[in-house]
């Protein structure tokens, strides 16, 4: 059983939380929405 490394998950959590917040703040949510609500034909293999 691994005893060390109990800090790593929290550091990762904080890091990715910051990344997520940065993403939201620079307006990436809207990019995801835009992409998701219009079907791009090439993306589903039709064209």
């Amino acid at each position: 059983m691994e005893k060390s490394g109990y800090k790593t998950p929290y550091l990762l959590l904080i890091f990715f939380l910051i990344v997520l917040v940065v993403g939201i703040n620079i307006g990436e949510v809207e990019v995801v929405l835009e992409k998701a609500i219009s079907i791009c034909l090439s993306c589903i293999g039709i064209q």
Partner: protein
């Protein structure tokens, strides 16, 4: 027969990610604000019933559009999706595959069809990292047209979930689309059919060999808050955990392997010897099973 907790959660998650049931009337996809959010599992956002975004599709889109975004002054390089996936990964590792991914759920159901079951060579497990690095990141990023736009390579050339959830329903819902079907769709259809057939014989073939989303989560397995624990002292190497594992993981070779999806099947249904448990933030759960002494 009572369904166990995991099955219930899988059903609820599948229904929740595909809750837009008005599509037969509108003939198109859901276009509401909920699609700003990604779902944790692989669920195509071009599916008429989908109410959330596919994190993998969104990630590829960011990769493919980095240059045009920078040209117009936006620094959109996918922080939102990377942060989302990293957050889930560092909390529970690859757990979403087992509990909330609709495509994984479907593979488990199809595998219930009685048939001789076969095992795949271990080396194929690396293929999903090739998919992740090349089809999800590098090719969308580097193969660009005159204007700097790339393509969603994984969605376009491989993703069977896209063909099943979006391609096929859309050509049924929108007849004009039938006129523009080509080789590409045929290729994707073949990939889908081959995978569907192999699901009968092989445990979760797509998750284990091709899924880039699983590949991303798997990187967190060893460092997540939630971790599996193997107690070698209690283990008698009966391999019952391997036989019952939906991913064909040999748990007795070590906890938190790349393909472990934390479905807890081994813990709850297989191991009679108390060799398997989990920990949250380094603390063992109170309900840890005591080893059963063999008489």
């Amino acid at each position: 027969m009572m369904l166990d907790l995991r099955r219930w959660i899988q059903i609820v998650a599948t229904v929740l990610s595909n809750a837009w049931l008005l599509f037969p009337f509108t003939g198109t996809i859901y276009q509401g604000k909920l699609k700003s959010f990604c779902v944790p599992g692989l669920n195509c956002y071009s599916c008429p019933a989908a109410v959330g975004s596919c994190p993998l599709g969104a990630l590829q889109t960011f990769m493919a559009n980095i240059r045009p975004s920078l040209t117009v002054g936006n620094f959109h390089i996918g922080f939102y999706v990377i942060g989302f996936l990293g957050l889930i990964g560092s909390l529970v590792g690859r757990m979403p595959c087992a509990w909330v991914c609709p495509f994984g759920f479907m593979q488990e159901l199809i595998h219930k069809i009685p048939s001789p079951k076969i095992e795949i060579p271990r080396i194929l497990a690396w293929l999903k990292y090739v998919m992740l690095v090349f089809l999800v990141i590098l090719l969308p990023l580097l193969v660009v047209d005159l204007f700097g736009y790339g393509e969603n390579w994984f969605c376009k050339y491989v993703c069977p979930a896209g063909t099943l959830q979006a391609g096929i329903p859309m050509i049924i819902l929108q007849p004009p689309l039938r006129g523009i079907l080509g080789t590409l769709f045929a290729v994707k259809l073949i990939i889908l059919v081959v995978l569907l057939v192999s699901m009968v014989f092989i445990r979760r073939p797509f998750c284990r060999t091709l899924c880039p989303l699983g590949a991303i989560y798997s990187l967190f397995n060893k460092v997540s808050v939630f971790r599996m624990v193997h107690h070698p002292d209690n283990c008698v190497l009966c391999k019952q955990c391997y036989r019952n594992c939906p991913m064909g993981v040999r748990f007795y070779e070590g906890a938190n392997q790349k393909d472990c999806i934390r479905c807890l099947q081994c813990l709850r249904k297989s191991c009679k010897y108390g060799a398997i448990s989990y920990e949250v933030a380094g603390a063992l759960p109170v309900e840890k099973k005591q080893p059963v002494k063999e008489s």
